[in-house]
């Protein structure tokens, strides 16, 4: 059975142009979340994923080292994510968590035999499971706490999830109808 999800990706206008020309090949995200994929905000625990993608683009524009904005025109890309149910790991569901927990259990058992202790991160485990052919995952869905501009400015570091996101590992296969839905200028008062 095919699953269809509407996803929103916030980025700079320059990156958006490159993404549209390369079908997201240039926009792989943080491996520590859900692995090396292209990330989308989707409808889930927050019902305004497009707004979250916009807020993410604005937050990402700020360079905390140079203290200036890396870009001042942002945009939101919308895409339909289409994935076979058997290749979709939903970590917001009991079924998905059961798969993930079993993977961790077997991994941890084996690592323990070496006498070493590793730092486990969701994204690294997903990368390993995909890379070694253990799980045939094309898309992973999860709930996360993501810091946007206000959370960063106010140094809020909560544990309560505020976003549902999807990581897409094979953009050419799983993304359809990518288009720009929002374009904006970043001003200090935006944040």
């Amino acid at each position: 059975m095919l699953i269809s999800i509407e996803g929103f990706h916030g980025t700079s206008l320059k990156s958006a142009e490159a993404i549209l020309n390369s079908n997201f090949q240039l926009s792989f995200g943080d491996k520590e979340w859900l692995g090396d994929g292209v990330y989308f905000f989707i409808n889930g625990i927050n019902k305004k994923p497009e707004e979250q993608a916009e807020k993410w683009a604005i937050a990402q524009s700020w360079n905390n080292v140079t203290k200036i904005y890396d870009f001042n025109t942002y945009c939101v890309l919308k895409s339909e994510i289409i994935v076979e149910e058997n290749n979709f790991l939903d970590l917001t569901s009991e079924d998905g968590i059961e798969v993930f927990e079993y993977l961790i259990e077997r991994f941890e058992e084996k690592i323990k035999e070496s006498g070493k202790k590793l730092e486990y991160l969701d994204g690294l485990l997903i990368n390993l499971a995909r890379g070694e052919g253990i799980l045939e995952v094309d898309v992973v869905k999860g709930n996360f706490y993501i810091k946007f501009a206000l959370e960063r400015i106010k140094r809020l570091n909560l544990r309560t999830n505020n976003c549902t996101i999807c990581a897409v590992f094979k953009p050419k296969k799983n993304l359809k109808e990518i288009k720009i839905t929002k374009l904006g200028k970043i001003k200090s008062e935006t944040i």
């Binding site: 491996k31 058997n86 079924d95 079993y102 590793l118 799980l135 995952v137």
Partner: protein
């Protein structure tokens, strides 16, 4: 995705057939895992009592034995 019998067997098959050394090697070098910095190794992880640190308000701390067993 569900943990079907076939998927469980596939996961088992991978971990049953890879050596421990190889798994550690690829975890660290290929997938970017890092070794835990904690040196604490607790063999028996059940405790009958718990030490707590209380803040008294005068900037001094003291330890007190909690007489209640820790609920697991």
């Amino acid at each position: 995705m569900k943990l079907s019998r076939e998927l469980k067997e596939k996961i088992d098959n991978y971990f049953n057939n890879i050596s421990t050394d190889k798994l550690v090697e690829i975890s660290l070098l290929k997938y970017g895992f890092s070794e835990s910095k904690s040196n604490i190794d607790i063999e028996n992880q059940s405790f009958s009592t718990l030490k707590k640190s209380f803040y008294k308000g005068n900037n001094t701390y003291f330890l007190q034995d909690d007489p209640y067993p820790l609920v697991a």
